[in-house]
C-alpha cells in the first residue's frame, strides 16, 4: 500500500518535472504548438488542392491523420528527456534515490499525455477555424480523442526505449525521425492509399498507422469503421505491452555515459 502511494507520488513529481521543462525550452514549445499548426496549414493549402479524397473535403480527410501523426511524435519529449538525463548524469542521481524505480519512466510518459492533450486542443482549434467538421456523435468524438491519446501514450513508450538506447539526444532524434517519420507517411494519414503505386499499397495497408488513422477517421467523421477501431486498440495495447517492459529493462541496465 505504501509502495503504491509512493509510486503514484513519485510518478507525479517526475511528470511535473517533465512538464516544467517545456515552456522553458523554446524549441520544445515550438515543436508542440507552431509545428503541428504549420503542418495542418501547409497540407490543407499547399497539397490539399492536388490531393483527391473522394467523399471528403481534404481538411476533413487530413485532420484525423495529422492528429495521429502529431500525437505519435508527442512522445518524442520522453526520448529527448531520457537521453539528456543519461548524458548529464541525472539518471545516476535518480537511481541512487529511494524512489520507485519505474517512476522516471511512468512520470515522463504521464507528462506526455498532458502535452498531447494540449496539442490536441491546439490542432482541433486550428482545424475548426479552417473548416474541419466533426460529423459523428459526441460519444464517438470522445472515444476518438481517448483512442488518439492512448496511441500517443503507447508511442511514448517506444520513444522511451529509443531515448534509453541511443547515445545522445541528437541520436535519439535521428532514430525517431528516420524510422517513424516515413512510416507515418506511407499510410492513409495524408493521401488515400489507393493513389499509391501498387507495390507500396500493401505496405501502407498493413501499416499500423493506417489502421490507427482509419480508426480516428471513423470516430471523428462517422464513416463506417469496419474492424479498424478494435484493431487500433489492439495495436496500441500491443505496443505498450512490448515497449513498456523493454524500456523498463533498458532502464535497469543503462550506464551513464
Amino acid at each position: 500500500m505504501r509502495a503504491l502511494r509512493y509510486g503514484i507520488s513519485d510518478t507525479l513529481v517526475l511528470a511535473k518535472r517533465s512538464l516544467l521543462r517545456i515552456p522553458r525550452q523554446p524549441d520544445l514549445l515550438v515543436g508542440f504548438t507552431i509545428q503541428p499548426v504549420l503542418f495542418v496549414l501547409l497540407f490543407v493549402y499547399v497539397f490539399g488542392g492536388a490531393i483527391q479524397t473522394p467523399g471528403f473535403d481534404y481538411v476533413d480527410f487530413l485532420m484525423p491523420g495529422i492528429i495521429v501523426q502529431s500525437i505519435v511524435f508527442g512522445g518524442f519529449v520522453t526520448a529527448l528527456g531520457l537521453a539528456d538525463d543519461l548524458k548529464k548524469g541525472l539518471m545516476d542521481r535518480f537511481r541512487s534515490l529511494p524512489m520507485t524505480r519505474s517512476a522516471l519512466l511512468t512520470g515522463r510518459t504521464l507528462g506526455d499525455i498532458v502535452t498531447n492533450v494540449f496539442q490536441l486542443v491546439v490542432m482541433f482549434t486550428v482545424g475548426l477555424l479552417i473548416g474541419f467538421n466533426f460529423s459523428s456523435s459526441v460519444g464517438e468524438v470522445i472515444a476518438g480523442i481517448a483512442l488518439v491519446l492512448a496511441i500517443g501514450y503507447a508511442f511514448s513508450w517506444v520513444f522511451a526505449f529509443i531515448g534509453l538506447s541511443s547515445s545522445s539526444p541528437e541520436a535519439s532524434n535521428a532514430y525517431g525521425f528516420t524510422v517513424l517519420f516515413p512510416l507515418t507517411f506511407v499510410s492513409s494519414a495524408f493521401v488515400p492509399v489507393d493513389t499509391m503505386p501498387s507495390w507500396l499499397q500493401p505496405i501502407a495497408e498493413h501499416n499500423p498507422f493506417t489502421t490507427m488513422v482509419d480508426a480516428a477517421r471513423a470516430l471523428f467523421l462517422g464513416v463506417p469503421a469496419g474492424n479498424d477501431v478494435w484493431l487500433a486498440v489492439l495495436w496500441t495495447l500491443a505496443i505498450i505491452a512490448v515497449f513498456a517492459p523493454l524500456s523498463a529493462w533498458r532502464y535497469q541496465r543503462v550506464v551513464t555515459r
Partner: protein, 324 residues
C-alpha cells in the same frame, strides 16, 4: 559489540567485457570519518562508488553501506546515502529550488518538509538568491554546490562524492572543501574519490590509493607520506643538461635514488639540517650553477610516483576525456 563501519567491502570484483575495472577491493570506512579513494582516471574509483551507491552490481564480493548489503538491501541503502558527482547532476531546466524540492519529494520527505529543506540548503550553500533562477544560468561552482546540496536533502549518514571538484577553478574548489569539512564536523561519513592529491590530503582521514582496480596502499595521509621517506632536496639547475652531473655530485648526501627531469633534480635526504649549505657547496665545487634550491616534505604526489612508478595527476585534457 563493535560499531558497524559506515562502509565495508570485501573482494569487490567488476569487469566490463574484457576490462577488469575492480580486481578485489577491500575497504573499511569508520563512521564519522572521511575516506579518500585516490587514483588516476580509469583506476576504478567511479566503479567502486557506483557499486556502493547501488547503481551497479558487483560481479563478485560484497559491500555494506550503513549496515545494509548494497545488492540485497539496495532500497534501504538508498534511503541512507547521498551521491554527488563529477557531473553536477542537477536539472538545468528547473530552478535551484525546484531541483532540491524534487529530490526531497523523491526521498519521500513530504511536500512541506521538502520545501523547507530546499530553502534551508539553498541558504547553507550560498544559493538563496539564485534559488529562483534556472540552473542553466548557474556557474560551474554554483552547480556543484547545488549538486552537493541535493545529495544532502535527506541528511544521509553516508555521503559519496565522486570527484567533487574535478573541473572547478581554485576558488570554487576551496569553497566546496569548506562545505565538505563543515559536513564532516556534523558527523556525516564521507567517501570521496579524487585524482587530486592535495584534495585527499586536505579532506581525508584515511586514504586508499587505487590503481588499475586494486588498492595498492592504504593509511592516513601522514603514513603514506612516511612510506616515501623523509625530506627531499629540490634543485633547479641553470643548465638543463647537467642533471646527471648534479646527481653524481650529490651522491654522498642522497638517502635514496635521486630523480632527474630536465633541469630539476629531486634528491631524498635523511637530514634536513645543513642540507642546503652542503648541497650548494658540492654543486659549486663541481661548477654547476643553481637557479633555485629548497628542501620540502613529501606530498601525495611522491607517494603515487613511488607506489606506481607513474605520476598520479594526468594532463588536463586527459582528465576531461576520462570524466566522460
Amino acid at each position: 559489540m563493535a560499531v558497524d563501519p559506515a562502509v565495508e567491502t570485501t573482494g569487490l570484483h567488476k569487469s566490463y567485457g574484457d576490462v577488469e575495472a575492480l580486481r578485489g577491493i577491500d575497504l573499511r570506512v569508520e563512521r564519522g570519518s572521511v575516506f579518500g579513494l585516490l587514483g588516476p582516471n580509469g583506476a576504478g574509483k567511479t566503479t567502486a562508488v557506483r557499486i556502493l551507491t547501488t547503481l551497479l552490481r558487483p560481479d563478485d564480493g560484497s559491500a555494506w553501506v550503513a549496515g545494509f548489503d548494497v545488492v540485497r538491501d539496495a532500497g534501504r541503502v538508498r534511503e541512507r546515502i547521498g551521491l554527488a558527482g563529477q557531473y553536477a547532476a542537477v536539472d538545468e531546466n528547473l530552478t535551484g529550488f525546484e531541483n532540491l524540492e524534487m529530490v526531497g519529494r523523491l526521498y519521500h520527505l513530504g511536500r512541506r518538509q521538502s520545501r523547507d529543506r530546499a530553502r534551508e540548503l539553498l541558504s547553507d550553500f550560498d544559493l538563496a538568491e539564485a534559488g529562483g533562477r534556472l540552473v542553466r544560468t548557474y556557474s560551474g561552482g554554483m552547480r556543484r554546490r547545488l549538486d552537493l546540496a541535493a545529495a544532502l536533502v535527506a541528511r544521509p549518514p553516508v555521503l559519496f562524492l565522486d570527484e567533487p571538484t574535478t573541473g572547478l577553478d581554485i576558488r570554487s574548489r576551496i569553497d566546496l572543501w569548506d562545505a565538505i569539512e563543515a559536513l564532516v564536523s556534523a558527523g556525516t561519513t564521507v567517501l570521496l574519490t579524487t585524482q587530486y592529491l592535495d584534495e585527499a590530503d586536505r579532506l581525508a582521514d584515511r586514504i586508499a590509493v587505487i590503481d588499475q582496480g586494486s588498492v595498492i596502499a592504504e593509511g592516513t595521509p601522514s603514513e603514506l607520506k612516511a612510506q616515501v621517506g623523509g625530506e627531499r632536496l629540490e634543485i633547479h639547475l641553470c643548465d638543463d643538461g647537467r642533471g646527471e652531473e648534479a646527481v653524481a655530485a650529490l651522491a654522498s648526501i642522497a638517502s635514496d635514488r635521486p630523480f632527474v627531469e630536465d633541469g630539476s633534480v629531486r634528491v631524498p635526504v635523511a637530514e634536513r639540517r645543513g642540507t642546503i649549505a652542503n648541497a650548494v657547496r658540492r654543486l659549486d665545487d663541481a661548477g654547476i650553477a643553481i637557479d633555485d634550491i629548497s628542501v620540502s616534505t613529501p606530498t601525495l604526489d611522491d607517494v603515487f610516483l613511488n607506489l606506481t612508478g607513474h605520476a598520479a595527476e594526468p594532463k588536463a585534457e586527459d582528465s576531461e576525456d576520462g570524466a566522460r
